[in-house]
Symmetry: C2
Subunit: 456 residues, 2 copies
């Protein structure tokens, strides 16, 4: 028995340097011993860091099964680059070893012409057909997420026939969690756990073993987020996918949905931070610039409107220059309060908690929180501004801060709710959008109060 | 065969109203038919919306098995309220039907005295021992996340003995994904899939069936985020947990880790939005206020420093009041650029991409993006400010905006990297922290350039 190393692999700079040297020296023995024995996820991590040529050198020495696993674990841009250097025939060979959903994902990134070429080169017609079928679904739906590999049993099979059939089916299915039970028309009628099958007597019929209670399934047209919500809510490791006639057509496993959950969270975080496309830190400078400039333009437009607004109070500033001192304080507080409020609403909406809490109760609660925060902060700033300049400015800043905070709290709550109502991603609201609007309104309140109390 | 309804349950206001009436009328028949048949996650959703008394009425009519499932699906505050109304004996009864990790989670929320009372009331001594053992682990580690229910086989067992043993063990284990293989000292040596066991002949020994290659396990002391990263990287549905001597002590399933992933994403989003504690939209006004005020105080301190800084340029403002017009534009742009840059770094760090990209290369890339954005936006604002006032102001605003953008990009990249280096959550940086600092530095740059070019 081989020695068990329980240490997880950790990729170091030193390891990479040695590996590069060994590749250059064509020292296959060393590579076999130090790379081929690793977990496919670790091999992919290594290939991510190598040049295309170096990566190919290792990749094509791997077992075919491992190749497929490694390919799916590569970072997206590395994989794209890697595939671009392969012929249609070579890509077709790789696809044969992949699960249908992964194969479809990879094909989906190619041009229509290339897809046709690759498909025509595939030897396994059934696999090719599955992939083509999957390509017809929108990639953001359950249909685009599902795989064609799953295990099904018919209601009237006895356990021993079921075992024989499953052995045949299971060859294609990497991970078996649940057996789906269908009727003669291929309609999903229930599930059967492997555990139950394992401990049943051979003559028992599936109809007497399976469970038809509360079968949770998703439709091919359900969107990804819906699938993630269902799997989370019902604690599922895999979920069957049915078509409009309730016929079983695929399954989705939790590991694919974890990616959806992570991507969704990433997207929200980026939207809230003012980045409009999903980007990774290894993208090009140009792509990074493009993803950010829309928000910066909005912020600049807001700043220009703010300049316009302040200029209409020019008389006030020239008489009381101290009014200008607290401009950043007013805008910063309005922005922060607004972002806080909208963040709460965005998360609450993302969890699907929108059915019951009426809009009015949400807003009044946020307004109340704003009231408490406003009172505390306004009294503090009254003291600060009075010491700083005089009590008139103290009153102006504290009153307007109080109003701005309450207003920003209400506004920050309302905007994401309105966006959500019109089916726009509410995470947009947490970004520069709400801060920019709050800036302008805050400035207007501040200067209006100032002009009023200074009798200008 | 019962009619299969494939529609997922959706909780409506109308349903709740009828249910409340039926509970008041003690119409158990109606409740049985309309509630008891539902999935436990749906029942929990209903109980979340009922009063404690109403919820208890339904809860204690459910099957014991279903009770446990429903209890774990309740929202945290509803569950706390619910448990608070039960006696120690009643809580002990509920724990007996729960998985050990869930039972430990629930006990962990009680006082030490109550924990002792509940444990002493439990009838199943072995279960009680498991729970007490789990309570000794930090809740943010693999030990705190794992459950004691898992299936293990010894190396020298033949398949038929294995099946007998597994049948005994499997009674406690809700979901079987993988069988862990241990040696005579209980050390983890490999895994065996249920699929392989299912199709093996009865005399085969486990040692000839199992896989000892690349066994991924976590240690009890590994923290939650590490566990989530490992399960994601290696596409695992469950992971074995070992102690320092590599003895198998538990397992963690992906559904529990999905919660960790979601909580982590939520926490980052809230930190970035200036909310310091994890809060839910149904928390009290006071808790919500408390979670937000620290950031607002920081922002207010920043605003006060900003006021101080502008006041030192009072001469400039009284001579050229138009300088005040563009204060919000400068602070807004600095803030937005800083948040964008830090968001990218925070996400990149969260994915564990920090080993190779050197700090210097990250910063120079962000500076480059800032340069491009700065050039585009500065030329635009030159035009705007010139039309708005005059070309001197145009030059002042555009030059300072350009400097501010590049500075904010570098600053926004650096801060999260530094925080991460000192083991502080880098998501802090994306919040008011980076905006406040950028405000002050931005104002200083703007007014310095202004004074210089206006020769004040």
């Amino acid at each position: 028995m081989r020695k068990i190393t329980q240490m997880r692999f950790e990729l170091t700079k030193e390891f990479l340097e040695i590996l590069r040297k060994k590749i250059a020296e064509q020292d296959l023995l060393w590579i076999k011993e130090h790379v081929f024995e690793l977990h496919f996820a670790d091999i992919a991590e290594i290939l991510d860091k190598l040049s295309n040529e170096e990566a190919k050198h290792i990749y094509f020495q791997l077992d075919e099964e491992v190749q497929a696993d490694v390919l799916m674990e590569l970072e997206e841009d590395v994989r794209d680059r890697f595939l671009a250097s392969l012929s249609s025939k070579e890509i077709a060979d790789q696809l044969e070893n992949l699960d249908s959903d992964d194969a479809a994902d990879i094909l989906g990134e190619l041009s229509d012409k290339q897809i046709q070429e690759v498909i025509s080169q595939m030897e396994d017609d059934e696999a090719a057909e599955d992939i083509v079928d999957l390509l017809s679904y929108d990639e953001d739906t359950a249909g685009g997420l599902m795989q064609k590999e799953f295990i099904q049993a018919k209601l009237n099979w006895p356990v021993n026939r079921c075992l024989v059939e499953l052995r045949r089916q299971a060859e294609d299915v990497e991970k078996v969690y649940t057996i789906y039970v269908v009727d003669d028309f291929n309609k999903l009628v229930g599930v059967l756990s492997l555990k139950r099958l394992l401990f049943a007597s051979p003559k028992t019929k599936i109809i007497d073993l399976y469970s038809d209670k509360n079968i949770i399934s998703v439709k091919t047209s359900d969107d990804n987020e819906e699938v993630a919500k269902v799997m989370e809510k019902y604690d599922l490791v895999s979920v069957p996918v049915v078509d409009l006639q309730n016929k079983l057509v695929g399954r989705i496993t939790l590991d694919d949905v974890v990616d959806v959950i992570k991507e969704e969270a990433d997207k929200d975080f980026q939207l809230a931070s003012g980045i409009s496309e999903r980007i990774e830190s290894n993208f090009s400078v140009w792509r990074m610039t493009r993803a950010r400039i829309p928000w910066l333009l909005i912020a600049m437009l807001g700043g220009t409107l703010g300049a316009q607004l302040i200029s209409s109070f020019e008389l006030g500033i020239s008489k009381v220059p101290a009014l200008a001192f607290f401009i950043p304080l007013i805008t910063a507080m309005g922005g922060n309060v607004g972002v806080q409020s909208s963040a709460i609403v965005v998360q609450s909406l993302a969890k699907g908690n929108d059915q019951f809490g009426s809009i009015l109760s949400k807003i009044s609660k946020e307004a109340l929180v704003g009231l408490v925060n406003g009172l505390i902060l306004a009294s503090l700033i009254y003291g600060i501004a009075t010491v700083f300049e005089n009590s008139t400015l103290g009153i102006v800043v504290s009153i307007s801060l109080f109003v701005v905070i309450i207003f920003a709290a209400i506004f920050g709550t309302l905007i994401p709710l309105v966006l959500n109502h019109y089916k726009i991603d509410p995470a947009l609201a947490t970004g520069p959008f709400v801060t920019t609007l709050n800036d302008i309104v805050g400035l207007f309140i501040y200067f209006s109060v100032g002009m009023l109390l200074y009798h200008i």
